[in-house]
């Protein structure tokens, strides 16, 4: 069951969910809360630049030795969004993070989904690629939680200006039926920009 704004705020007050910094009153809708874009982006190098590195220009996620973090370190460059904004070009794909950090203690029996915003969707922009679930236990390893990684794409005809701190996605909380036996142990449990 999806939590209403009232239940979501109640969960925050009781520490069942942690969002840091805590969202302002006008960041809530009836069943979701908006999160903002952090200032760090990872931009994939062009296929020409990747070939110039002498690296096979393809992802091989089915291979047992596939290591996303190593590949991302090799094939992306970190950008800090300038004050004037960063133009996400048409048909560009980048990685980003929410400004807010999230913590969903396993025993709270809450999970969440991160979803895009219709105002950006109308422009052709999305913020995840089929991976919206924030599992119970997410961010538990750090007292302040961790930011959500966003897979940001633009299939629209024009560049979209990204500003640090702009509303970028919405988080929808859902009750978990029963207490999970395990917290979240996925490979991205420590996600966040390098050095964060």
């Amino acid at each position: 069951m999806i939590l209403s704004d009232r239940e979501g705020r109640f969960a925050l007050r009781r520490g069942l969910v942690q969002i840091t910094p805590e969202p302002e009153d006008d960041a809530w809708s009836s069943t979701a809360v908006d999160l903002r874009l952090g200032s760090i982006l990872l931009r994939w190098k062009s296929i020409e630049d990747i070939r110039a590195l002498g690296i096979a220009a393809r992802f091989r996620p089915g291979r047992p030795d596939f290591d996303f973090f190593q590949i991302a370190q090799q094939l992306t460059e970190q950008i800090t969004i300038p004050e004037a904004g960063y133009d996400l070009e048409s048909h560009q794909f980048i990685l980003g993070w929410t400004l807010e950090t999230i913590r969903l203690p396993t025993l709270s029996r809450l999970a969440a989904r991160v979803e895009g915003k219709s105002s950006l969707g109308r422009l052709g922009m999305g913020i995840h690629v089929t991976a919206p679930t924030v599992h119970a236990g997410f961010g538990e390893a750090k007292p302040e939680g961790i930011p959500l990684q966003l897979e940001i794409w633009n299939v629209g005809p024009l560049p979209v200006e990204l500003l640090a701190g702009m509303p970028i996605c919405q988080l929808i909380f859902e009750e978990v039926h029963g207490t999970p036996e395990r917290g979240y142990a996925g490979q991205f449990r420590q996600q966040g920009p390098v050095g964060a």
Binding site: D25, D26, A27, W28, S29, S30, A32, D34, K117, S118, S119, L120, R122, M166, P167
Partner: protein, 90 residues
């Protein structure tokens, strides 16, 4: 509780639609498109029916029926721009 908030209207993307601008408490305009029949006329002014969330001495927090072009769902508006739709009183 449904209240009306003073807004400016322009033609929408379709004939039946209007593009409206709702000024927030600080004067920033939030743009949203809505079917024309949804709007409320009162004494020659156009009001957008919105859901009341909360209020303080001078501001009212309201919720839009869907996301504004800016990404906003909720905004603070000035009490001066609010009309109670049931009785037509500010």
């Amino acid at each position: 509780m449904q209240i009306g908030v003073l807004c400016e209207t322009r033609p929408g993307l379709r004939d039946s639609e209007r593009s409206i601008a709702i000024p927030d408490f600080w004067g920033r305009k939030q743009y949203i498109r809505i079917e024309a029949y949804y709007l409320h006329e009162h004494e020659g002014r156009t009001y957008m029916p919105l859901t009341f969330i909360d209020e303080d001495a001078e501001k009212v927090l309201v919720e839009l029926p869907y996301e504004a072009d800016s990404g906003k769902w909720r905004l603070f508006v000035s009490k001066k721009n609010v009309l109670h739709l049931e009785d037509g009183k500010p």
